[in-house]
């Protein structure tokens, strides 16, 4: 890369790179509004990695979409998404276009569907550079980007179908990095990939974080991957964060029963507790239009007690630098 990514504008010293405040996302639907994100707040500092975990339908991808304002028309979004102190949700279209790519970029999971099949990959990366930053030296820059993600520069003249799944995912990462963003959102970037290729892509992302101080939000249902690559984890359920904290601790010693169930679904090889003992969570995630009262997880919760259906939960302290939305945690006002 031709140097450290430059800030779009001087950031105030104390403000985090990204600050999400009380974000709500609701989709219009025939049966009434469908709340997908119901009040999420989070902060991300420069160079930090945050893992966002949860099952499908928990709102994690809607949250990512809201950060870049990529949601379908008619979607109701409220709250604040402050990027370097500037609210993405109220930006004018011109400003938004400038911020996307240059400050904030996203990598999706379906690498095949995100690339234009009839255009050489180098052209696609070059187009992003030309539209958003500079006009000269573009092809040199394309070569640099490809090499940065571990592909030979000559691959620029390949069409997407000539590349393997892992190589295409690398091209998407190169594309996302084309305008030197400071924040990368990776939505299931490795789910469609093989174990070995997944390890290659994860190692690449880790390397980029270290070298360029790139902040990353990593979205996946695979808690074990998050524990390996992210410093912090936030677990979502039914549109809210239900547990957050340092990833190793959250994974090794979950405070929320939902996190516990999710973590148990990823067996530790060699651990006798998992041998011939697959573990999951009974039941399905609730209908967002008809959420259970009190803690929305209570109908599936193995640790539910009589107050759970009636006690509203919020993130309460659950140890140093940790919090969880469960009546059982130490910081809960109704701690049992």
């Amino acid at each position: 890369m031709s140097g450290q990514p430059q800030p779009v504008e001087p950031a105030t010293e104390s403000a985090p790179l990204l600050s999400v405040r009380d974000l709500h996302v609701a989709y219009p639907s025939l049966g009434g509004e469908l709340p997908a994100v119901r009040g999420v707040s989070l902060d991300l500092e420069v160079g930090q990695t945050l893992g966002l975990a949860g099952e499908s339908g928990c709102g994690k991808s809607s949250l990512a979409g809201a950060l870049l304002r990529l949601l379908p028309q008619g979607t109701k979004v409220s709250g604040e998404v402050l990027l370097n102190g500037e609210d993405v949700l109220t930006m004018k279209p011109g400003r938004l276009r400038a911020v996307r790519w240059t400050s904030l970029a996203i990598v999706f999971q379906g690498a095949l569907h995100s690339l234009n099949p009839v255009q050489r990959v180098g052209q696609q990366i070059g187009e992003a550079i030309r539209l958003h930053s500079k006009q000269s030296g573009v092809s040199k820059r394309v070569g640099e980007l490809l090499e940065l993600v571990g592909l030979p520069a000559r691959r620029a003249s390949d069409y997407p179908h000539q590349l393997s799944g892992g190589q295409r995912q690398r091209v998407l990462i190169a594309l996302a990095l084309a305008c030197e963003p400071r924040l990368l959102i990776a939505d299931e970037p490795t789910t469609a990939l093989d174990v070995m290729v997944q390890a290659q892509v994860l190692a690449l992302l880790e390397d980029l974080q270290e070298r360029f101080g790139l902040a990353t939000i990593f979205i996946t249902h695979d808690l074990s991957t998050l524990a390996a690559v992210c410093r912090h984890i936030a677990v979502m359920y039914a549109g809210r964060i239900v547990e957050q904290g340092p990833s190793t601790e959250v994974f090794a010693n979950p405070a929320h029963p939902y996190t516990r169930g999710l973590a148990a679904a990823f067996p530790i090889i060699g651990d006798a507790a998992f041998r011939m003992h697959p573990s999951g969570l009974p039941g399905d995630p609730p209908d967002p239009r008809d959420l259970p009262g009190g803690c929305p997880f209570h109908p599936r919760c193995p640790a539910a007690v009589d107050i759970c259906p009636s006690t509203p939960v919020e993130l309460w302290p659950a140890g140093p630098d940790r919090s969880a939305a469960c009546v059982h945690v130490s910081g809960s006002p109704v701690s049992t």
Binding site: M196, A199, I268, G270, H277, P278, G280, P282, D284
Partner: protein, 325 residues
């Protein structure tokens, strides 16, 4: 392994013509499994595991070699195939794609009963199969459509549709990889119960080693069309001998990371299988000079290891080669 094994694969070869020549997707595979056993076939994409599974299920014609179910060789005549497909049922990764969106759950399960002309009361058979797959009470699901069910429930319908034929062998290709983490455990638990209670043998094709640890009795590791290591799940996953198995295990994301051995590149091209040990161009032992120090580098490059584990660094020369199974 029981002498009367449920499934036996003998020196199986499956080839496909490609622009770059013949791709040897399955290149001499030997495999055995017994009733009630769960065998996990693991490997990267492109290693030939899905082709092997499809050939075992009778969906793909082999170029050479034999598939025997309960000692009976699989032939590809029309009637023999229909018979075979009743004994060996295949389950795919994506339950949504495998179900007809305009068919009720009852119809989806009853279809196989009709095609195979299973004797007995159809409604009772369907109800039993749904119940066994954990969809209870089964009658509640009869008139429902796939879109009304969750992903996990759909996969249960697929399993019910397979189990209704009372097969001896279930071939499941990545049965949980499209499902959510919480549902995954439920489906795996169901497969484990089925194997224990009905004596069905289950061949699970997967790239997920955690899944193997969860439910498999034995593991076979496949690389470029060949089984390179096989044994009990404990042996293979706790003390792997083959450098490829070791590399696969080292990249399983866990908190206490062992030193990762990330192999460069993706699984190479089955149309250009390297000479000697097919793994040698990616092998950490060759790359680090360890093979040279052991004095086996020449053999790694030139001799195809036909024993198991298929590694010159592991097997004492000649001795093990006899039992190439």
């Amino acid at each position: 392994m029981s002498p009367a094994s449920l499934l036996e694969v003998r020196d199986l070869h499956v080839e496909f013509p490609t622009r770059h020549g013949l791709a040897r997707a399955v290149d001499g595979v030997n495999l055995r499994m017994g009733s009630g056993e769960i065998l996990a076939l693991v490997g990267e994409s492109g290693c030939g595991k899905t082709t092997l599974a499809r050939t075992i299920a009778g969906l793909q014609l082999p170029n050479a070699g034999e598939v025997l179910v309960r000692g009976k060789p699989l032939t590809h005549g029309r009637r023999a195939l229909r018979e075979h497909r009743r004994t060996a049922q295949l389950i795919f990764q994506d339950p949504t794609g495998a179900l007809n969106a305009r068919q009720t759950i009852y119809e989806a399960v009853a279809e196989g009963v009709r095609i195979q002309k299973v004797p007995g009361d159809e409604e009772q058979l369907v109800a039993e199969a749904l119940g066994r797959a954990g969809l209870r009470p089964p009658e509640r699901f009869f008139t429902r459509y796939p879109y009304e069910l969750s992903g996990g429930q759909r996969q249960r319908v697929i399993i019910a549709g397979a189990m209704v034929l009372n097969p001896g062998l279930l071939v499941a290709d990545e049965p949980v990889s499209s499902l959510d983490a919480s549902v995954r455990g439920e489906i795996l638990g169901l497969m484990l119960t089925l194997a224990r209670e009905t004596e069905i043998g289950i061949l699970v094709v997967t790239h997920d080693l955690g899944l193997a640890w969860n439910i498999a009795d034995r593991v076979a590791v496949m690389y470029l069309g060949r089984i390179v290591e096989a044994g009990t799940t404990e042996d293979i996953l706790i003390s792997p001998k083959h450098p490829y198995t070791q590399a696969l295990l080292s990249v399983v994301p866990e908190i206490e990371q062992v030193e990762q051995r990330i192999l460069t590149g993706e699984a190479p091209d089955p149309a250009r299988i390297p000479s000697g040990c097919r793994f040698h161009p990616r092998c950490p032992l060759v790359e680090s000079g360890e093979a040279a120090r052991l004095g086996i580098e020449e053999r790694c490059r030139n001799d195809d290891p036909l024993m198991l584990p298929a590694c010159h660094a592991v097997a004492p020369p000649a001795a093990v080669a006899m039992e190439s199974r």
